[in-house]
Symmetry: D2
Subunit: 370 residues, 4 copies
């Protein structure tokens, strides 16, 4: 267990940084969904290394191949398997790690769990594992859009961006920020001034053999009301699990989050006001969920990513044999994962939403009580 | 879906604040586990209303009855069903809510999802739903202890407490804080000074028809290394889902959390140092999980609870018919959920851990490679 | 694991023959379904002991109580918990079984699995466990009917009956047999002559301290085409699991079944012929499923039940201590489970169908390709 | 949903007869299991077409590639993805089927479910889908063997064979039959005389444009006692689902099966007798399961396969447009699936058993009561 996510739109990812390839099998894509490989490739390009000087310079071109489940550009209803071949292995680059536990990396815990570890490239903890998620997320987005189109409603719009790097915080209007602004800068921060400062900070970190963390913020617009459940499968609970399942994450908050704990109930409650489309909330401290269920307001949440564990500065650690030693990692690594984390957050959000949408019983399934 | 939690230790909760009762069915309790109803009752008493003047004064004595799965004080391996009868209904107390959507409460979202809502007591969103979780959590704790005892290892120790109420923050040494200190004060804050300030703040909030939020912090000691998984079922991801599935939660962080995003990699990485029991970390920014898997260090996490939505001050809202109106809630409500949230956090932690422990393949399952 | 069934209409049964009671929690009943406790009680009465001289004379009146999830006669969308209290315990009746493994009963295997066993009444293997299934099945039937009514289509009609007892076979026209004919005779065999012969055979078996087995046959009419899946979750695979999960079952066949293995492809294939409602099959050797998916024809299947293991004749067996001994069971037992198995087969069929119906994506979810 | 099987050893199959390839992702292979690709290939060779003149002559060499989860011949604990490329497409061979529903084939039901169908090669209903199952089954067998080896117990031995073709029945001693005898003849029937008669019958059927069905019988030796559960996840229920999920299956029976319904309880009950290893049964009408749980005796079951639907004789059917027509299938098809079904039954058996073994809590987990 552990590599399967979702109930009705169920994905199984596979693959490590070294070996035949990485990918995903998606079970539950509704038949007749249009599936555009270019769009999947576009999302993969957003997450791939080497896309800018801010991220790792490893060359991973990451071309996706569809193995099954698609016929003439449409989902057949069968599982869709997507494969991206590995290349640029250079596994010799990992020889110096063979006998050393990297601080704050997965390899010690792996050894404890599995009784062995894959040293090269981080094994299953490699960021390459997220290729399968991002590819599946692209299909999830297509399903959400096409279901909305069929229903004649506005399509779900998932927009996430780099909200902070270390102590540099972006100032962004969540109500209007659009993906074009985010993609306009390699940091994926739509606040131009903050983006410039982040760039400088990240380049300095790289130069110094150090790394930086930060936060990604997300807004989801046109979320149908009624997604989620009052108890375990609360929409925010499933989002929290999805986000904390991404590598390097340390926190999740929805709506007012931790800051909301400093407000009183009178300040925090979102008053309902009438509107043409029915009751809406005047504020959105709830972040679009109430009682675990979407209320039609924008979903708002934030995810914390720690600074990358792999750095080239020397650090104290211990060998596999239990001796104290010092390690300075070699190889090409991200000094800051945040820009590449944005498409991962987008993808996981889409995966959570599509699963809840498919699970949702149509409101008109049974007649009103009266 | 939505009321089932866990894979190998699987609980199904049921019940609303009004009706025959609330409870839980637990499938997967290992046969021969000693099950002590007094201990379950003790945990329920920690979460019940009326236990101090800081919480709601509703009288819910909440006596638990075991319906099945226990024979002569031991689990038989069959599902254990636990039932707590409802009483003290006073459903007339909810008449004034029949036609009004309460701000930041679940009822509007319910209406959108289910096409109807249970007004009395919040239906399924009632805090009474957590009775089933707390009862199941008490059994999960017993399983964890008895498995450790059989294995000859130190028992998992789950300790959580009220870490802040609004802006009053406790100063607690996570390495030594013990449950007795926490239970010594009705706030469940083990910092005596902070506890006093919290008490005053909560009483003021009640008097003013207002409410307060805060955070619960948890430490788990003696966690076996190797729990969790590298991808979706990361230990912190399952904890995040568990915590965000509790009513009124808005955030979760593990280890350094959001504050960790302001550190550099060099500051944040936990150096390994040799010890008699093998490599340990000198610091614990990781919070006990690396690569999604427990590393043997203390688990550390924090959960944000918003101020209670139900307050007696007047607030703007909208009627079911769509008209603007004003609502001042009647009835007896918690001005601050934090003290009663502590046993809920304990229970959900135990439920996550026991499921991962049972899922874990014993290290000696297959011989070492080499 | 082991006591949960279904994905979107998920039931957790609990309870043994001795203890507080037996019941079920059902998660996934669509909100606003009308739920009629009298109907649930009616199905329970069909399975209860003592209903005729053909079945065990234990007095179990089995009144069902709804604990949650129902408001004013309708499902709220929350889990529905149903409880039937145990009574008439007479556990002393089991004293003679304390140290003996009953032949072909569960107690030896229990000992191997759980390291202990509940002697009284068979523990979890008691036929009383099926109370939860039958109660849940009655709600499943109501959901199926009401969904069909909302859609304007003919309601799914599940009809099963005793098809054979030992070598006495009923001659029944599956196209027209109706539940009233089945309920008209205590054997639940609608062939009057066969029913009379079965009655005599069962009464003889009881007199002789022996027991009989037989088969239940089922037809399901108005099954929507498109239920099921091509691979693991084939409709017949889920029916097979459901039926083999009932106590005392030894076999399942759909459509032509084992007899169909003696036909050639030319004889066995069901030719399509045009009809006003589209293509239909001229024969139905397929039993209503093709490629794992319902094709709109009647579902046809058959289930084998072995003769009851508990008999009052003396049999060779072994004590818990490993000594050869002889056992003649005391107490009141069914000489033939078949009449009481019929409502169980009905219930499991309804549970499988409702889960597949809820899982089904509406055909109009996405536009046609072309 | 529908293409995922298992809980702790969870497989996701993908792929159709035409397209990039078919395969499987296996989540839950215990780390350090030796994985031998030659053995997987060997099992695939047993199921592939063209292996004898008795089966379809399509050329599918079916070389398996491991994409992930294996390092230096051992499972790493990460998902194992296995891929077999498609070739020899000849999709023009299916042009004559574009507008016609094949009798007793999946395409009409697909149209009803998905609103479209993949004509070429049967899409997801292609026997090629079973490649993923057979490959996963080979790994499941390796896990079962190595767990037994570690535990010092005799390895689980799964042996299945062709028991009948049409009315030709094999006479086989289930206690001693071995795989070598089965593999010695292309029919996979270890009774030499019956095998010869089956060969003639199958060759005649092919010549006449017809097809034959039959049964596969299986014995599993050295099954640990205690696998299964008393209620839904009974061992025989999971086997029934597994077998009925194979293409062309119409029935399943365990132990005495349908024939057992003609015995009395006194005849059918399996008397316990003392043995050196504890109580064993003198007969095995139970088929190795009692109360849903393995009792240590051989597992015995039988599976019915209908005659292949695709035949070259002319048959009545209906066009997609609803007009009556006649169809004579072209292409190369199996006149009898039985010989190739044997490795599929082996594989599904291994998948069910390994999942139950991993789910099983070790008996020594908790101390004995008393």
């Amino acid at each position: 267990m552990g590599s399967v996510f979702g109930h009705l739109f169920r994905i199984s990812t596979f693959g490590e940084s070294h070996g035949g390839g990485v990918g995903v099998v998606i079970d539950g894509v509704p038949a007749r969904t249009r599936v555009d490989l270019d769009r999947i490739q576009h999302e993969l390009d957003r997450r791939r290394p080497g896309q800018s000087r801010l991220v790792t310079q490893r060359d991973e071109s990451d071309r996706v191949e569809a193995l099954s489940g698609i016929d003439d550009g449409h989902a057949t209803g069968a599982p869709i398997a997507l494969l991206v071949r590995n290349k640029d292995a250079r596994s010799g680059a990992y020889d110096h790690l063979r006998d050393v536990y990297r601080p704050s990396h997965a390899d010690f815990a792996y050894d404890q769990k599995y009784g062995h570890r894959t040293i090269a490239g981080g094994g299953r903890s490699s960021a390459r594992e997220t290729i399968g998620r991002v590819a599946a997320g692209a299909i999830a987005m297509a399903v959400l859009e096409q279901l909305a189109q069929t229903a004649g409603s506005a399509p779900v719009e998932i927009v996430s961006w780099v909200d902070s790097v270390r102590d540099i915080e972006a100032d962004v209007d969540t109500q209007i920020v659009a993906r074009e602004q985010i993609e306009a800068h390699p940091t994926r921060c739509p606040d131009v001034d903050a983006a410039a400062a982040m760039t400088t900070a990240i380049e300095n970190a790289r130069r110094n053999g150090n790394s930086l963390g930060g936060t990604v913020r997300a807004v989801v617009r046109n979320v149908p009301a009624g997604l989620g459940a009052p108890v375990f499968d609360r929409l925010e609970a499933d989002l929290a699990k999805a986000m904390l399942s991404l590598p390097a994450t340390k926190g999740f908050e929805v709506g007012s989050g931790f800051a909301g704990t400093r407000m009183t109930g009178l300040e925090h409650n979102d008053p309902f006001v009438p509107s043409e489309s029915g009751p809406i909330t005047a504020t959105n401290h709830s972040g679009g969920v109430q009682g675990g269920i979407s209320n039609g307001a924008d979903l708002l949440f934030r995810v914390a990513f720690k600074p990358t564990a792999t750095i080239s500065s020397a650090q104290d650690t211990v060998t596999v044999g239990g001796e104290a030693t010092t390690l300075a990692a070699k190889g090409r690594h991200d000094p800051c994962v945040l820009p590449r984390a944005v498409p991962m957050v987008d993808a996981m959000t889409a995966l959570v939403l599509v699963d809840h949408v498919l699970r949702q019983q149509p409101n008109e399934l049974l007649p009103a009580i009266g």
